[in-house]
């Protein structure tokens, strides 16, 4: 491989888009050519720089609601009088308002009760989950088995846990799997799976449970925590990622 050929492939190499043979060829060339190596370093540095300092614009909070309303309006137009025939209190706007009012009341009740009572069991676990997440980042002990391949990560837990964790790779959905780790939570050994979203790390803890609970979210010390149960397993996702994107993560996991 000469320099011209190598330059064509350098970007694809930085992007991880080369097949094994091409990767080996380019690595061999880079070892022997200092100029191409420095060009490659430059791209790599630029890539890292954009990942860490590039501005990701998140949608304004009310945009989803506005789109939802517009879509609803299209539906009303299309179904014509079918909707108009129904009593007015059942219009989607009324229902939305009523739901918002109800949510506000529930929230007020919750907030006032939270101020008074000690932590519930699930809040205690949520704190443990956050502590586990922070510890994994602090100690630099994110993974025992670094691999983006679910078929490598899943068997790794064999013999280390008394259950077989479900391991999903969500690279296609923008949450690449980084690997797995053993952890200890809620008084038992659990599986911890690592995912990435932009520059954020997500810890997904997983262990068997008898409980069947609705998804629940917590915000603790700036971390967002989401818990849900599915197929006899308790799942706890924790990250400094915003709650909307963490909710997408949960939705993808539950599919």
């Amino acid at each position: 491989m000469n320099c011209d050929e190598a330059r064509l492939l350098l970007n694809a190499s930085v992007d991880g888009e080369l097949d094994a043979v091409q990767s080996l060829t380019i690595e061999a060339h880079l070892r022997s050519c200092a100029i191409c190596r420095s060009v490659c370093d430059g791209y790599q540095r630029l890539h890292t720089e954009i990942q860490s300092r590039g501005q990701y614009f998140e949608a304004p909070e009310d945009l989803e609601a506005r789109i939802h309303n517009k879509i609803g309006a299209v539906k009303r137009d299309r179904t014509g009088h079918a909707t108009a025939d129904r009593p007015r209190f059942f219009s989607s706007r009324f229902v939305a308002l009523a739901a918002a009012a109800a949510a506000l009341i529930v929230l007020t009740v919750l907030v006032t009760s939270v101020l008074r009572r000690p932590f519930t069991a699930s809040e205690l676990v949520a704190h443990e989950v956050v502590a586990g997440h922070v510890r994994s980042l602090m100690a630099g002990h994110l993974m025992d088995v670094p691999s983006s391949d679910q078929h490598t990560v899943k068997p790794w837990f064999n013999g280390k846990l008394d259950f077989a964790p479900r391991v999903k790779d969500l690279a296609g959905e923008g949450f690449p799997l980084l690997g797995g780790r053993l952890d200890y939570l809620d008084g038992r050994p659990v599986a911890a799976l690592l995912y990435k979203r932009h520059q954020h790390t997500i810890n997904l803890f997983e262990w068997p449970t008898q409980e069947r609970a609705k998804p629940q979210s917590f915000a603790i010390n700036g971390y967002n925590v989401l818990r849900w149960t599915q197929g006899g397993m308790a799942y706890w996702a924790v990250s400094d990622l915003n709650d909307a994107e963490l909710a997408i993560f949960m939705r993808e996991q539950r599919k």
């Binding site: 970007n11 420095s38 614009f57 949608a59 304004p60 945009l63 939802h68 932009h198």
Partner: protein, 177 residues
């Protein structure tokens, strides 16, 4: 006419990618209000073509394709100067060795400079860069969204980065002078 339930299905399919849609529109229109308009219009278009979307297909790439096309139409109507009718890659290309990458002190480039220079890239470079770097799309997905062959994605991305490096390098040289 939409069947009952398909609207909910549409929302479940398309709304999870709202941030991706907005980020792309925001980078391409360069303005928050225009981005919101474009995103809303994109979702309505997506709803109209939802019948042709097959479950199990790549919903994010499908939606981003619509956002990208809506942006392009919108810019052509409202900011024709931003989308030059004929894009000549050779004019916008930067010579490889314009500056030695070793001397590009990127660690010193502040976020504002970096983002300003990304914003200043020609439209065709900016879109592939945003899709690749911010959304992490594969070359194949980028090719699908932008509607160009894989080889064009590769060359545009390479030129986008070279261009960006040159701009950052130039800005830093000026700052040091």
């Amino acid at each position: 006419m939409q069947r009952k339930g398909s609207l909910e299905q549409f929302e479940n399919t398309a709304l999870p990618y709202l941030n991706a849609a907005y980020n792309l529109a925001r980078w391409l229109t360069q303005n928050p209000h225009d981005a919101e308009d474009v995103v809303q219009e994109s979702y309505l278009r997506a709803l109209r073509s939802f019948d042709s979307f097959r479950a199990g297909c790549d919903a994010r790439a499908w939606l981003l394709t619509i956002v990208r096309n809506t942006c392009f139409t919108w810019l052509r109507q409202n900011r024709p100067a931003c989308v030059a009718a004929e894009f000549d890659e050779n004019i916008h290309d930067a010579p490889e060795n314009w500056c030695n990458p070793e001397t590009v002190l990127l660690e010193k480039a502040d976020s504002k400079l970096l983002n300003d220079e990304i914003a200043a890239l020609p439209y065709e470079y900016r879109e592939v860069l945003i899709l690749r770097e911010f959304e992490g799309l594969s070359y194949k997905q980028v090719a699908q969204v932008v509607g160009v062959p894989l080889g064009t994605v590769m060359s545009r991305l390479a030129r986008a980065r070279r261009n960006l490096q040159r701009r950052l390098c130039g800005a830093q040289t000026e700052a040091q002078a």
